[in-house]
Symmetry: C2
Amino acid sequence: MIQIAVMGHGVVGSGVTEILLKHSDEIAKKVHEEIYIKKVLDLREFPDSPIAERFTKNFDDILNDDEIKIVVEVMGGLNPAYDFVKKCLLSGKSVVTSNKELVAAKGAELLKIADENNLNFLFEASVGGGIPIIRPLNQCLAANDVYEIDGILNGTTNYILAKMIKESMSFNDALAKAQKKGYAERNPAADVEGHDACRKICILASLVFGKHVYPDSVHTEGITNVSLTDVEYASAWGGVIKLIGSVKLTDGKQEIIVAPMFVKNECQLSTVDGVFNAILVKGDSTGDVVFYGKGAGKLPTASAVVADVMDCVTHKNERRYIMWEDGCKNDILPFEQSKYSMYVLANAENTDAAFETANNLFGCCERLTRNNPEQSELAFITPVMTYADFEKAKADFEQTGIKTISAIRIAVI
Amino acid sequence: MIQIAVMGHGVVGSGVTEILLKHSDEIAKKVHEEIYIKKVLDLREFPDSPIAERFTKNFDDILNDDEIKIVVEVMGGLNPAYDFVKKCLLSGKSVVTSNKELVAAKGAELLKIADENNLNFLFEASVGGGIPIIRPLNQCLAANDVYEIDGILNGTTNYILAKMIKESMSFNDALAKAQKKGYAERNPAADVEGHDACRKICILASLVFGKHVYPDSVHTEGITNVSLTDVEYASAWGGVIKLIGSVKLTDGKQEIIVAPMFVKNECQLSTVDGVFNAILVKGDSTGDVVFYGKGAGKLPTASAVVADVMDCVTHKNERRYIMWEDGCKNDILPFEQSKYSMYVLANAENTDAAFETANNLFGCCERLTRNNPEQSELAFITPVMTYADFEKAKADFEQTGIKTISAIRIAVI
């Protein structure tokens, strides 16, 4: 029998105990050992839990219990999760977490401590919820040079965009609906401003390229400015708008970004619907591989956590080969040097003249049309250019009295 | 340093040696040990190989070399692969294979021998080529009850169907094109008659439900009878025709089949294009998870083989938890008892009268229409019924002088 503790009894935490209790026999058969939840840490009371007597409000009850060999951290947030996890690792306990904020902020440090103590620090559930991605990336694709990852990493924003695309719902209405359905929080900033997706692409980038990428070094745009007009022009162009987290190697540096992008209808990521996530991995041997599924939710996420716990049990004195070093901003290509073709929506008195100006300033552009446009509306796609050059040309463009309303990258996937 | 042998230097085998040589440093870093190809078995000569001097035509050179701890079998076919693999396992060598025919026919026996000798027998590449599926199924989804798998498991047939769907190419023309492109063999029977997909769904079913399913107990239909008319009616119905391998638990028995099916456009499997494969896994906790990528090809398949080799290296004296028992026909639900709604294309003098007859015999049917149909053409969808009941009603239907041209299942995914 192996004894574990679960820190946090919220959505994911209660799912973890539910799965461990419900599937205890099958799990024991698979890992050749019974997994016993000795302690659950939560400040709230859960008198109706079948293991109510094992709850504690005191972290030290877990830390100081030498029989507890694996600790599951599903509290979320950076503090006190970081302090607790670090102390657990330093005291010889392997840790499994679903906490993307923690891994994105402190992954390199915690992996190093785990390594020095010959323990495991696993976080399959931190990206893609129930979609197996960290382990396949690490193991199945081990014989590949993975050179690019593009993903729809946040279900809330994908749900909102899908409502805008399929039902012509406005951003605000779609957000309200997502909140009503429990897909978005009352304060939706972390989702709609792209921070959640950013944490996840940071974790994937760190894993694949071996150096920690910190969220604050990643250019991140959310979807709050995406309008139904943009959605219509994306459709006219032959695609959809998706919030994409992307990382690839360019001249030895990581080109990494989170932003809404135009995605062609032919791309596998264009059909990802509702709260689903999809992660496209490009390897030199495998070609394109896509992992698709529910990126969040109680049981999908909890099942990924439990799979990690099982992996810890079967690798008690052996490190699973997840590891990356610390990284610095110098590893990242400044986003101004990143090259994209851009969709531009502008307001001009004379749209034909404005399009001529656009061609002069941005280079040869492709004009887009839609049904019943405003008279002053001009939409076009620029050639591929660095963001710095785009910003310069855009400033000159606006100097002529034209107002730029939207500017969205065209995904290169 | 760990020494291995590779049996077979065809498409996949040459890819395996290529990857192991090209990525040797990164791989050694990941598994903390150099992997050295000591022998390559092939009856042909490869004087230009950088390791030409390590080739042998004699299997005993591998079998009797106690320094060789891992053997890669990428010869394909049942014989002599089965004999060689069995002997390797019995003499204490772990085996990695990409050979779906071998695993589908002898998996239970070989896994048992591996288990008894505390060795690994791994076959990630046998299903889905470079798509990680066996390991995620086994590990990441370990905390789930997986209750259903539906997959597009054969790239050749998917390529042919995609050509029929998108370019209105006939089956024969699409097959010829696939052959020209090297996607289909000169004798395409194993692909177009569904046998290849059948082996793969057998492997997945065995893995998930723990009992070996032999291909000859699976009802298998190919795509040779699918016509452009059927493709058009699928489109009118709101979907596409795909060759689906499906297994699910029904009343404690495995309901398993390989057949062309109507798949709704909303289903993730409907958009799988060209030679790609996709496998949809349904688990009680994760919900739907889809794995998508190239199901065949030299480097995708070889990279999956190499990942297994790396797993063997890091788990030398430890069994990876892939295991299933032997199975029997009694574990399988007879396909006549399987329930599907059916698409029927028929020829009748009076189609309105024939549709009335259909409603009387099959129950309330949905009539389909297309542009410019033949005058004698009737297409409809029956209610859900067992295949036995469908066959009975169809016989009665034909008794009235109507000729049934096509009958295709409607996928329940």
